[in-house]
């Protein structure tokens, strides 16, 4: 932008807002239309609605009308920025930044923020008689403190290790936002990117906590149940199914790699496209087996792909002291220095994530008809094998009983994947969130 244009100018900013401009609601892209802001004096800045883009500069470099509209918008922007940011003294909190332990000790906690931020930690506190004693107090992590300071909700002083006897009645000034950024970024693994992601999600109403507790007193969700190893029965049935599969393959002679198509001329059951496709599935697939690597540690220890935040939707009933299992888990990387994760990095991430059930079909008036039935999500393997055998032997072609439970739509299940990780790639302040899901195409053949 030209500096000349950026310089504020006195402008009789009394434009009449016409109805057409009011109705044009913003599309997602496009800049802010500052003319939609209330005039100076309006105390609280509001997020403005976006206007419509003009088509192009008129021939000959801008007309009187366009210059007028631009000036008006610019004046409105400066008016909006001129507004004082203020906070009621009743909702301001107070705290002390302790650089040695990278925490802010909250001395006065006010406002709704503390329902989702801060934790109590026991610290040695000196009591009047000179001795020290462990006392619980409310502390904020660096990102939480910085977020509140930036919002103007927390006045934070820096704890300095200087003898101040005799200066008791001097208060000193709280840290400025600039000072807080300079002091706090870099502490307790907090990079600028991680802070930006934290602040963005907090502003949207999400509750964001650390995945790895930075200190033992930091509350974390209870360990997951259900990730127990396979039961004896499950193992037996999986071995049995592997065994039957290999026996069947052997019997049909499809272990001749030059002739993979195993259709028996005699067995009627073989004569279907489903069987043809099934006999062609010869390439190992799926995430159940970790990929081979010639290196002992395929993921470099310096890899940035480590889960950093737990994320809870605003609707989730979050209790600070007993946090539930997170709705999402977030990895934050710098988009300029990190590449998209490798298969090995993703495998490592997926290894610690819980498996989510496939999405259920949306309830509508009529039950949705799902044509193809999933294979792998079916009941235990051995019963289905028996069913297969019976259906070979019995000449009747009775249709399989339709289960009443709604099956997930295969597309929805494929798109949702089995495990999810959110990766936030931050490029100098612009955050691009991607969801990486563990796919399971091998479990949902279309035929």
């Amino acid at each position: 932008m030209d500096d000349v244009l950026e310089r504020p100018r006195p402008q009789p900013a009394t434009p009449t807002l016409d109805p057409a401009e009011e109705e044009s609601s913003g599309s997602e892209d496009g800049g802010l239309d500052w003319t939609k802001l209330p005039k100076v004096g309006a105390v609280r800045p509001v997020i403005p609605k976006r206007g419509e883009k003009d088509f192009e500069p008129a021939a000959g470099g801008g007309s009187g009308l366009q210059a007028h509209v631009l000036d008006r918008a610019r004046a409105a922007m400066f008016d909006a920025l001129k507004a004082d940011r203020a906070i009621s003294s009743k909702s301001a909190s107070y705290g002390i930044w302790c650089p040695q332990i990278s925490r802010v000790h909250v001395t006065v906690a006010r406002g709704i923020h503390f329902s989702a931020m801060g934790h109590s930690a026991a610290r040695p506190t000196s009591i009047d008689n000179g001795s020290t004693k462990l006392q619980k107090r409310l502390e904020l992590l660096p990102e939480e403190a910085l977020y509140l300071i930036e919002r103007g909700a927390l006045f934070c002083w820096k704890d300095i290790q200087t003898d101040l006897t005799g200066l008791d009645d001097i208060e000193g000034a709280p840290m400025s936002v600039q000072q807080a950024f300079a002091e706090i970024i870099g502490k307790e693994d907090l990079t600028l990117e991680k802070y930006q992601v934290f602040a963005y999600l907090r502003r949207l109403g999400y509750v964001v906590t650390r995945t790895d507790p930075p200190s033992p007193s930091y509350p974390v969700p209870p360990p997951r149940v259900g990730s127990a190893p396979l039961s004896f029965y499950q193992r037996l049935s999986s071995i049995f199914s592997l065994f039957t599969a290999s026996v069947l393959r052997f019997l049909r002679g499809s272990n001749n790699w030059w002739r993979p198509l195993g259709i028996s001329r005699w067995i009627h059951h073989d004569k279907s496209y489903g069987k043809v496709f099934k006999s062609l599935r010869v390439i190992p697939a799926g995430h159940s087996v970790a990929p081979h690597s010639s290196r002992a540690t395929p993921v470099a220890p310096s890899s940035p792909y480590k889960i950093f935040y737990n994320m809870y939707k605003p609707s989730t009933n979050f209790r600070k002291t007993i946090p539930p299992q997170p709705d999402f888990q977030v990895v934050v990387v710098n988009a300029r220095t990190a590449f998209v994760p490798s298969l090995y990095e993703l495998t490592e991430l997926f290894n610690v994530l819980p498996e989510i059930p496939p999405p259920l079909p949306r309830k509508r008036g009529a039950p949705s008809v799902v044509q193809s039935s999933p294979v792998a999500v079916a009941s235990p393997v051995h019963t289905s094998t028996f069913k297969h055998i019976f259906s070979w032997l019995l000449p009747s072609s009775t249709p399989q009983p339709v289960t009443s439970q709604p099956r997930p739509h295969p597309f929805a299940a494929l798109k949702a994947g089995k495990k999810n990780i959110v990766i936030a790639a931050v490029d100098s302040g612009n955050i691009s969130f991607f969801r990486f899901s563990q796919g399971a195409f091998e479990e949902w053949p279309t035929l």
Partner: protein, 395 residues
């Protein structure tokens, strides 16, 4: 009608439902092989023999493809499994149908290519009209501002309606295609147009498709381009891999040792994997990806998934020694991932990254490469990608 062009999907007279039934009938078989109605069945045994057709194709090393010149074979391979692509068409080999159409129907029954051309012309006209309307509205606002000094909302008619057309409101003023002729005019001509149009088009199979048809389905014979004799399966196995060996290798007579990261093998693994799961797999070059997956086929619905094949070397040494510069073997940047994802979400496709592991030569002996038995040592893993928009995931 069906005499003229039985695959024409835009017959003005037929209802959508009957057209759909016709499509389902024509494309009823997902593979070239056919299982006839059973005649007799006892205790799970039956005597009806599956009918496996036999097509022939000519191997073309320069284009790395196999050409099916016989139109019957070409139609069969397209209708039963959507294999290949007409070399003069977008997908289905419809060149001769288009020519016949152009003569007989004078633009009445349109092939899909013609429909697209018409739509593009209309879209261009719409953009011109819109630009004109916007310019006119701006000029009007300008005049009002200069004369009266007030800012008006441009593009609003006195009755409150918008003058500037949007994609929803714009209608073509008059169809530029001269298709408004009544069908009666054309009818007398039909008898005369007997002189046949020679079909100059061939169906072009990618080597992955050709190998799938030859090896997995056993319904295609591939002829040598010079001798016109048929290849054996083992010869095809070697030839298809050798095509990808860079020509800078000095001695073409001495076969270079087979490698696990041969581009043919890597892309075939992906192709075969999704084919064997029942998907119709087509090239995804138009969407920055390697393959597109269709549920039943391109005539039924749009592709649902876009597959990026990423080879993963189990041993980084193999990658360093490789004569192939495998595409996507180097890690993606975030900007490139965003590019691909943007393109594909724009067309309602879900981006899937498909990792194909390449066995380490230190783990698996390259001897297994002498036959397709090596496929058992590769593996496929998918990762489904989607933009995550926190502002829309709040509840």
């Amino acid at each position: 009608m069906s005499l003229i062009n039985q695959t024409s999907r835009s017959k003005a007279s037929s209802k959508p439902s009957s057209r759909r039934a016709e499509t389902s009938r024509v494309y009823a078989h997902p593979l070239p092989i056919i299982f006839p109605e059973l005649t007799y069945k006892f205790l799970g045994l039956s005597l009806t023999r599956p009918l496996n057709p036999h097509c022939t194709a000519l191997f073309d090393p320069l284009t790395r493809s196999a050409w099916v010149s016989d139109s019957g074979d070409a139609t069969l391979l397209w209708q039963r499994g959507f294999f290949g692509k007409g070399d003069l068409s977008r997908s289905e080999p419809s060149w001769s149908a288009r020519q016949i159409n152009a003569r007989k129907m004078k633009g009445k029954g349109l092939t899909s290519e013609e429909i697209t051309a018409k739509r593009r012309a209309e879209r261009k006209q719409f953009k011109l009209d819109r630009a004109k309307a916007i310019a006119a509205a701006a000029a009007e606002a300008e005049t009002v501002f200069n004369e009266q000094g007030r800012v008006i909302a441009p593009g609003i008619a006195p009755d409150g309606t918008r003058i500037i057309p949007s994609a929803a409101t714009w209608k073509p003023a008059s169809t530029s295609v001269p298709s408004e002729q009544s069908p009666l005019d054309v009818a007398p001509d039909e008898e005369e147009k007997i002189e046949p149009i020679q079909d100059l088009e061939h169906l072009q199979l990618s080597l992955q498709e050709a190998f799938f048809l030859v090896w997995a389905l056993d319904c295609l014979t591939i002829l040598h381009p010079e001798t016109n004799t048929s290849f054996t399966l083992a010869e095809i196995w070697n030839t298809f891999q050798n095509v990808y060996i860079p020509s800078s290798v000095p001695q073409p007579n001495i076969p270079s040792p087979p490698r696990f990261d041969n581009p043919f093998l890597v892309s075939y693994i992906a192709y075969h994997h999704y084919r064997s799961l029942g998907w119709v797999v087509k090239s995804g070059i138009k969407f920055c990806v390697d393959y597109l997956l269709y549920k039943r086929g391109p005539v039924f619905q749009h592709a649902e998934f876009a597959i990026v094949v990423i080879p993963v070397y189990e041993d980084p040494e193999d990658q360093a020694n490789s004569p192939f510069k495998l595409q996507n073997a180097e890690p993606f940047t975030w900007s490139w991932l965003s590019t691909i994802n943007r393109v594909n979400s724009q067309v309602q496709k879900t981006l899937v990254v498909s990792y194909i592991t390449i066995p380490a030569e230190s783990r698996v002996s390259p001897k297994v490469l002498s036959s397709p038995a090596c496929f058992a040592h590769y593996s496929v893993r998918e990762v489904v990608l989607r933009r995550f928009i926190p502002a829309r995931m709040r509840d």
